[in-house]
Amino acid sequence: MIRKWLVLTAVLAAAGAATGCRGARSRSELTVAGSTSIQPFADKWAEVFMEKRPGLGVNVQGGGSSAGIQACKSGACQIGMTSRDLKPDEQDLHEIVVAHDGLAVIVHPENPVRAATLPQIKEVFSGDLRNWGLLGGADRAITVVTREEGSGTRGAFQELVMGRTRIFKGAITQDSNGTVREIVAHDPYAVGFISLGLVNEQVVALELDGAAASERNIENGRYKLVRPFMFVSRGEPTGQALEFIEFVLSDEGQALVKVEGLIPIKRGPSK
């Protein structure tokens, strides 16, 4: 008797699961995965895109640039997001720049230092310049905060500021823009770098080489710390992926990220 009940319950459960599945599948899914720097903007694009195209679901996931590229290569997602350039063994993927992002060097609001030159910033992060006094601030040691190896943001900073010089080993290392900002927001002697779009009232972005970290200065080319945000796909995107990318590149899609603090692609610096 008990066994009969068990069997019946199992059958019912299976049937329920099956219909549940079918319910979910009637809405086709596009998966976009990768860089956690691009993720919040992709979420925004997906949200608006799905309002316009109720039949199509866009599933945005993080994981990091490398994970996104891997997932795209293996076919686990149709679009990968990367904030770093493709490595030689990843060159077979098709890439499209979807926006530009400024990098801000940030300090605590109480820190009197408001400007620096790029060579100075380079010395700070290489560990050669260790006291705020040398930059016109208090006579205190500089707490340098960096991102972890492999991060797209760190990769961009390395390329744009450090060149071949290494970020010194003693630097505090954090694994997201948010935690870097959090540390700088609470330590008056800290310096870090994050996405320009994520600078808020808790921190101050330094003026670099005489140009404030603003959208206008990025557009006119005076502020130099700019990196591309890219979508990658296996071959030319088709179908739903193409539809989503076209939306992202449209005036409406670009206007969305401008509100969120990114630099739209069409007026961005030429690459």
């Binding site: 190896e149 492999g150 003693g170 609470h186 330590d187």
Partner: protein
Amino acid sequence: MKSDMKGRGRNKLERTDRLVRLSLLVVAFSAVSTLAVITIFMFEQGAPIMFKYGLRSFLAGSDWYPTEKIFGLWPMIVGSLYVTLGAMVIGVPFGLACAVVLTEFSSRPVRRVIKPVIELLAGIPSVVYGFIGVVILVPFIRENLGGPGLSVLAASIILGIMILPTIISISVDSIQAIPLSYRAFGMGRAIGETMAVIMIAGNAASVPRSVLDPVRTLTSNIALEMGYASGEHRQALFATGVILFIIIMILNTVANVTSSRMKGSKG
């Protein structure tokens, strides 16, 4: 006829018995085989790169620049040991004192309240400990002792508190004459903890020169960089896991040998 029925009944009973025993064995074995699968996978992913770049440079190298294919784990090995040692230095005296009070100087009702409360400490998620560390302890160290605050000291204190419940219950049990061999558990928790440590240790991949310097542990090294790692960088993170695995095995073996020796000398 009757005895025949009885016989058949016993047979049936034996069969069920055997069946139950077999299924229990399968379940028990699945736990063991999970461990085996994890171990094999980790070594398979992590070991080749260690031999490719040389075990020596992997263990003794003090530079960790994985994107430039420089994989020195020495700062992280030292970091893990410092932080674990620090946690024991802080956790053990407090834990022992608490256990002595619990077993020797407190009345039964008091014990009935305190012991569950201590055990509840063990149930607090590590991210909460990390958060408390970031909000209270790190600024305190930065303002009163100097340095960035995110440091060996901060990690040791928070870990010391996190291992208290384990230390206390083990000490209570051993004061009540239960074998000492579980002391390694407290150490295991300290060396393996990741979340709270990432939040408060600062994670600089260099050997700390004072307790106020930031430090990166082996577990933090894996968790920090796994998201973005690819290719050999990723393999090097698995290799980090292999090293951690071996260190924990060594610690456990040492703990077991010492405790059985102590038992031997007692008896």
